[in-house]
């Protein structure tokens, strides 16, 4: 058993005792009831289980939770799909996913949402050239598996959020 403390969607949790081998995915789903984070493969191949990790230096990245132990998240700050909307108002990316019919069954949506959000935040800090936008999105989302949609509408949704606020995400004069 190890003491675990972390922050999830802005709320501090712990310290709680957890078994060392308990996966982060099971910690979220079985112990916290936060089933928005999905279990797909248990091998970090589909990334339906990915959450956002916010580093103290202000950068963020996604991490699979199925092969990572819960205790490896000790001291970390994470965001899950349950934390994107604020006061009932959906995020721009959530709205875009709906408006584009980006998902079908929706089981991979949490992973795509987290990955897309991290990309938006990264581009807000380090904008890209317009000509590189499509390949940047493709690279960012490529680790995620969707079996229903063929990915196109996910990509279009992310792209349209960026283009709708292009001053923020795109290098000027390109």
């Amino acid at each position: 058993m190890t003491k675990l403390s972390l922050t999830i969607n802005g709320r501090a949790l712990g310290p709680v005792d957890v078994r060392d081998e308990l996966s982060m995915n099971d910690f979220l789903r079985e112990y916290l009831g936060m089933t928005g984070t999905k279990f797909g493969c248990g091998a970090a191949q589909c990334l339906s289980c990915a959450v956002i990790v916010d580093d103290p230096d202000g950068t963020s990245y996604t991490s699979p939770t199925c092969v990572a132990s819960a205790v490896s998240f000790d001291g970390k700050t994470i965001r899950t799909i349950e934390g994107h909307a604020r006061d009932g108002e959906l995020s721009a990316l959530q709205k875009a996913f709906i408006a584009h019919f980006a998902f079908q069954c929706g089981y991979c949506t949490a992973g795509f949402l987290n990955e897309g959000q991290v990309l938006l935040e990264r581009l807000a800090k380090a904008p890209v050239k317009r000509a590189d936008l499509e390949s940047t999105i493709a690279e960012a989302l490529d680790g995620h598996i969707c079996r229903c949609t063929g990915y196109i509408k996910y990509h279009e949704a992310v792209r349209d959020v960026i283009l709708a606020d292009s001053k923020r995400y795109i290098v000027a004069n390109q």
Binding site: K38, H84, Q104, C105, G106, A138, G143, R147, T149, G150
Partner: protein
């Protein structure tokens, strides 16, 4: 064997099962109390609306906020009235099917890790559990027997706490605790089904066929005692006359193809397809609780076939000894994280129920991990095919086609006989061929069970056909699209079972689109301009795929509130196909407003119809149907699985008909009242001239009426404000008349109940019901949709890496209810086709998924980087007429992608691959 033994796609179901266990089925209604979304609300009205006209998926907000929707999301504590704690079960499967099973050595589970309950074959025998016929075979392999397939369950371990379960599964991960003894080799079992489809057309298109399955019935050969393979020869001893007749015609066709005839180009080719997994992203999961005291078995399941799941569980426990027979079963159904056929008739639900029955008082969750899903989940059938085609060299017309299909059905029969027949009757694709002879047999093997999966046999047989056709065009030579045009079946032409299609046939239009597309027009230029070290090729294919099973049901209930809010209930299930959104849009055509609430997987809200059923709709004879239909509550079947691309066409039909009744007998008379039009005014019958525009009912020269005003009037005047309808399709809808307000209302439904004002639903007894004739069971395909695909590929000579540079698919689907969902399905079908053609494969036996060691990473599916995300153009043809009904399209869009890629590979490399998948390493090998 004759047609009376034709396999049923589904056993019929009764409201109360034969076992005497009361069944009730509902979506997760109790979750409502827990603040969860049991019904999907449209993201409009009170909430943010992504599109002003009410577009957007009804489940959109729930899915982007992580709401509990899927079976795998629910625990006992989420469900009001359930005990708080959830126990966890683990299904143990055999990784060996050639040695005697000796038992599980659970010695490594000590102390807290010891399971609370272990369930084995002996326990099932002890309690008197019965295996439903559809799943015939031991649910658990008994001690001392060789498993009949790799991945056959041997036991169920139940742990009271998640901690114990979690640690135990780690300890058992390597699978070596399942013990085997003497080598026996695989267990031999009879074939699951064998059929022969033979057709000989008359001398001209206008003359009757000489022989066809429609005329003579479906036939099966006899079987030898010593071999699982059937005896196809007409001359064999004990051959039944009906079969011999088909076989004599068939052998004659084969003789013509074998004869030396310089005017006939004959190709004789083999083609082989692989086993693949549907790889839906949510592994199968279920939650169950048997409250031993009250006798109720509660279940939370996510399947495509809710009625079947509940009925199979009732059968399983129907004769069990006390206390293992529940007094009632209450099954609740959730959204699914993908299905693709693999959740239609899955045996998984039986084990969920058993877990609860053997640990009474404790809610038990059974959930596959991905290894277990590969090990035990339903697979796509591998086919071995040999096809012979004869083409008149002078005219380029196909004269004859003969093929032999052998399917590996794996360990249990499941849908193998049906996949065999659907694949066989699709074997001539879009073509008009006067002489056809196709044999098919589905065999048992020790592989993981194969069953329903998107394409359902036609993906395999039409891939082989379209690759063969491409080779014919090259050999003649004739342009591949011109060859297809000359041979395409016209709207009145006969399919290989001898019937014409019952819907639009738009092959010429699709071929024209393909021919004019820049990918096709510029194929030579791109090939010759290929950069050094790169091979460029272009391929085309065009197919047609049936939708519907030949016995499909539709149930719908609509309620209109006094303030004009629309609520829809439907029995079909949501697996990503957007059924709820399609329903809302189809009903809006009649009621002028997108529904405020849509509830799918509802099988509990149609009591007012009081439906009863009997017999098997697929095999029933006309006399039996005629006698049964005298009972005004009888229908050939009550509810169908959500499968076979029937969501749009079937799933929304009854709801649309119910909406039509509300319009005609509720909103229209209310409008007359508000407009001040007297009943004897000639305009009183102009309901078909009225139109909805921006939520208002418009009739020329009169003030537009908003829906809320009409709804309020309908309620105040006690007019029709709600309707429940059922219909049945056997390649045609049932029809009946219903006495309503002094007239006999005709509709394509067979049961109706209506509500007046705020009253209760009351059944309207039908008059003159016409169910589709039972002879329609001889039809192979009547409802069909066409799709064509072009791809241009680039292959790196050095590595064999293949890139799809450009692609185009064009298809028709009648009226698209939710165009965005239709386009999404087409894009997803393209991706799945690419995976099937180039990436996905599972070894059949040892070393395959039955060993429990397979996962993603080893099994490759298409990722974004495998696809032409910015270079895939999809065109959906507009409906032929504004009122053309919706046609199923979710399967057909996947099929032509595969042969188009293979034909492009030939164009690039000069090499025809005769098996799937064509991996980069295979390409590298032939290019070396």
């Amino acid at each position: 064997m004759t047609e009376s033994m034709r396999p049923s796609r589904r056993d019929f179901l009764n409201w109360v099962s034969a076992s005497g266990i009361a069944l009730s089925l509902s979506p997760l209604a109790s979750a409502e109390a827990a603040g969860l979304p049991p019904r999907a609300s449209l993201p409009g009205r009170s909430n943010w609306n992504p599109a002003a006209n009410g577009a957007g998926r009804v489940d959109g907000v729930a899915k982007v906020t992580g709401a509990k929707l899927y079976a795998s999301d629910f625990r006992a504590s989420d469900l009001p009235g359930w005990p708080a704690k959830t126990s966890h079960a683990m299904l143990i499967r055999a990784p060996d099917a050639t040695h005697v099973y000796l038992g599980m050595d659970l010695g490594r589970l000590t102390g807290a890790l010891k399971p609370s309950v272990v369930v084995t074959a002996a326990d099932l025998a002890r309690i008197g559990a019965r295996v439903p016929e559809f799943y015939a075979g031991d649910l658990f392999c008994p001690l001392g027997k060789t498993p009949i397939y790799l991945g056959q369950p041997v036991g169920l371990l139940i742990f009271e706490t998640f901690d114990a379960f979690d640690q135990a599964r780690l300890a058992l991960r390597d699978g070596t605790f399942v013990k085997f003894g003497e080598e026996t080799g695989p267990v031999a079992m009879p074939a699951y089904g064998a059929y022969r489809f033979t057709r000989v057309a008359g001398a001209t298109p206008d003359t009757p066929d000489v022989y066809s399955p429609i005329l003579a019935g479906w036939v099966s050969p006899g079987r030898s005692q010593s071999s699982p393979l059937p005896i196809w020869s007409p001359a064999a001893k004990d051959t039944e006359a009906a079969y011999a007749k088909a076989a004599v015609h068939g052998e004659r066709i084969r003789g013509e193809l074998a004869a030396k005839n310089p005017n006939l180009l004959v190709l004789d080719r083999e083609f082989e397809t692989q086993s693949v997994d549907p790889m839906f992203l949510e592994p199968e999961s279920g939650l169950a609780w048997y409250d031993g005291r009250s006798g109720g078995l509660e279940l939370v399941l996510g399947v495509q076939s809710p009625y079947e799941a509940a009925d199979s569980i009732a059968h399983l426990l129907g004769e069990a000894r006390a206390p293992f027979k529940p007094a009632r079963i209450n099954a609740q159904f959730t959204y699914m994280g993908g299905g693709f056929g693999g959740r239609d008739h899955t045996p998984f639900v039986l084990y969920v129920a058993l877990a609860a029955m053997f640990f009474p008082g404790h809610p038990v969750r059974l959930a596959h991990d991905r290894y277990q899903q590969f090990q035990g989940g339903i697979k796509r059938h591998p086919f071995k095919m040999r096809s012979k085609i004869g083409v008149d060299r002078a005219t380029g017309k196909i004269r004859a086609f003969a093929a032999d299909h052998v399917l590996d059905g794996g360990g249990l029969a499941n849908f193998s006989p049906n996949v065999a027949t659907v694949g066989a009757t699709a074997a001539i694709g879009i073509y008009d061929i006067p002489k056809v002879d196709v044999t098919t047999v589905a065999l048992h093997s020790r592989g993981v069970t194969a069953g329903s999966m998107r394409g359902y046999g036609t993906l395999q047989t039409m891939t082989a056909l379209e690759v063969l056709v491409d080779e014919v065009a090259t050999a003649l030579p004739l342009d591949p699209i011109e060859f297809r045009r000359r041979n395409a079946l016209g709207p009145k032409g006969r399919t290989m079972t001898g019937n014409p299609y019952g819907v639009s046939v738009r092959t010429p239009e699709i071929l024209d689109k393909l021919e004019k597309h820049p990918i096709w027009q510029q194929r030579a230029r791109h090939k010759s301009a290929a950069p050094q070290g790169v091979l460029v090729g272009t391929g085309v294919a065009c197919v047609t795929k049936d939708y519907g099973t030949g016995a499909d049901c539709s149930l719908g209930r609509i309620e209109l509130s006094p303030d004009g809010k629309v609520t829809i209930y439907c029995d079909h299930t949501e697996m990503g196909n957007g059924i709820g959104t399609a329903l809302a849009n189809r009903v809006a055509l009649h009621l002028g407003a997108v529904a405020d609430e849509v509830s799918v997987a509802r099988v509990d809200t149609y009591d007012a119809l009081g439906l009863v059923t009997s017999g098997d709709p697929y095999t029933m004879d006309q006399k039996t149907q005629d006698a049964a239909e005298r009972n005004p509550r009888w229908v050939p079947a009550i509810s169908s699985a959500t499968s076979a691309s029937i969501g749009a066409h079937v799933g929304t039909h009854a709801a649309a008909e119910a909406a039509r009744v509300i319009f005609r007998f509720g909103l229209w008379p209310a409008a007359l009242q508000l407009w001040g039009i007297a009943p004897n005014d000639r305009r009183a019958k102009d309901w078909s001239k009225a139109q909805w525009k921006d939520g208002q009912l418009v009739l020329s020269g009169l003030a537009p009426l908003p829906l809320p005003a009409l709804a309020a009037t309908a309620h105040a005047r006690n007019l029709v404000t709600g309707a429940v309808a059922h219909s049945f399709s056997r390649w045609d809808w049932s029809r009946a008349r219903f006495p309503l307000f002094g007239e006999q209302y005709r509709a394509e439904i067979d049961a109706l109940a209506v509500r007046r004002g705020g009253g209760r639903f009351e059944r309207i007894n039908r008059l003159n019901v016409k169910f589709p004739p039972t002879d329609n069971n001889r039809i192979g395909t009547s409802y069909t949709s066409m799709c064509g695909t072009l791809v241009r590929i680039e292959i790196d000579r050095g590595s064999g890496a293949l890139r799809i540079a450009k692609a185009y698919s064009v298809f028709e689907c009648g009226q698209a209810l939710v165009p965005e969902v239709v386009m999404g399905q087409a894009q997803g079908g393209f991706a799945m086709g690419v995976g099937y053609a180039l990436l996905e494969t599972l070894p059949p036996f040892e070393g395959g998924p039955g060993n429990g060691q397979w996962n993603l990473g080893q099994y490759l599916v298409a990722r974004g980087s495998d696809l032409p995300l910015h270079d895939l153009e999809i065109e959906m043809l507009p409906p032929l007429t504004p009122d053309e009904p919706p046609k199923g399209m979710a399967e057909v869009v996947m099929v032509p992608v595969v042969p188009a890629i293979l034909n492009a590979i030939f164009d690039a490399t000069g090499r025809r691959f005769q098996s799937l998948p064509v991996t980069a390493s295979l390409l590298k090998g032939v290019l070396a």
